[in-house]
Subunit: 188 residues, 2 copies
Amino acid sequence: MKTSIGPRTILGPQPALVVGTYGADGRPNLATVSWAGICCSRPPCVAVSLRAATLTHGHVAARRAFTVNVPHERHVDVVDHVGTVSGRDEDKFAACGLTPVRSELVDAPYVAEFPVVLECRLVHTFELGLHTEYVGEILDVKADAEVLGPSGLPALSKVRPVVFSSAESTYYSIGEELATAFARRAKR
Amino acid sequence: MKTSIGPRTILGPQPALVVGTYGADGRPNLATVSWAGICCSRPPCVAVSLRAATLTHGHVAARRAFTVNVPHERHVDVVDHVGTVSGRDEDKFAACGLTPVRSELVDAPYVAEFPVVLECRLVHTFELGLHTEYVGEILDVKADAEVLGPSGLPALSKVRPVVFSSAESTYYSIGEELATAFARRAKR
């Protein structure tokens, strides 16, 4: 017998990610988001939900580009800071000691210090209510060599991304490997 | 200096979740998804991406309803099984020893054994390419009493949801608490 807790925006695990954009003045900005994830394989796309009140919302609409930066758990304080301060009030890159790198593929900056970044070109804008969902085509993924696994792709145990629990206002780390996926398919 | 690994659908952490639907014959079915997450606060909405080739894709379109079930890590083998077998070939609830519960709010079943479920009414269908993104309004969240934290909402440390790493075809658990969120805002 389950307890009803109402129509809440609660779902776990959700990521803590940082979106990079340029403002009208060309200054790089950052926003922490949790409501973001891959949404299509062909073309490869990622969705990010933002409120119209945020600075980043206008930046994405104007430049039609953004980056999705995956922080290592060592950056959790930066992730929290970026999520609680507006780019209207401070230069978040400078305040956090982060280095903006200009993407060569899209009109947006990425964070040099974070291990993985997705460079995205805006392809869809969906108005859902209080949030706008921006869908970006992933033009490239770039990663630090030290987070790549045997397959040449980022390994979660090395990237060590951050999980965000909105219900608890708490950040969690990634834990242990539970199982290999597609076990049944492999057996056929 | 980052390594380019191309336009891949890689982003961490992503969840491993299980979508519940009814077929045309009224039989309950399940699908494992990783490309899913909250996308709007008002109305509260969750997005799920599915390929048209899947049985669940047609079910959602026909019934305009689905549930998003959050498995505990003890269910990881069930999650993997559900993700590798088609409902055309077997009754996944029966094969996995799971109990379908008819939602009283939407025309879809949920999994009695999983600790948290979101009951959703389809409100948007976005064709993105190989994947369709279904956006469902969350009409209720139901949770087992033993996974609720002090706030009365599900605590990640008790739900113990599953993280999926597509780059490694591996499931991970949730780790330790890293930090409390909104630390800076609280200080003001």
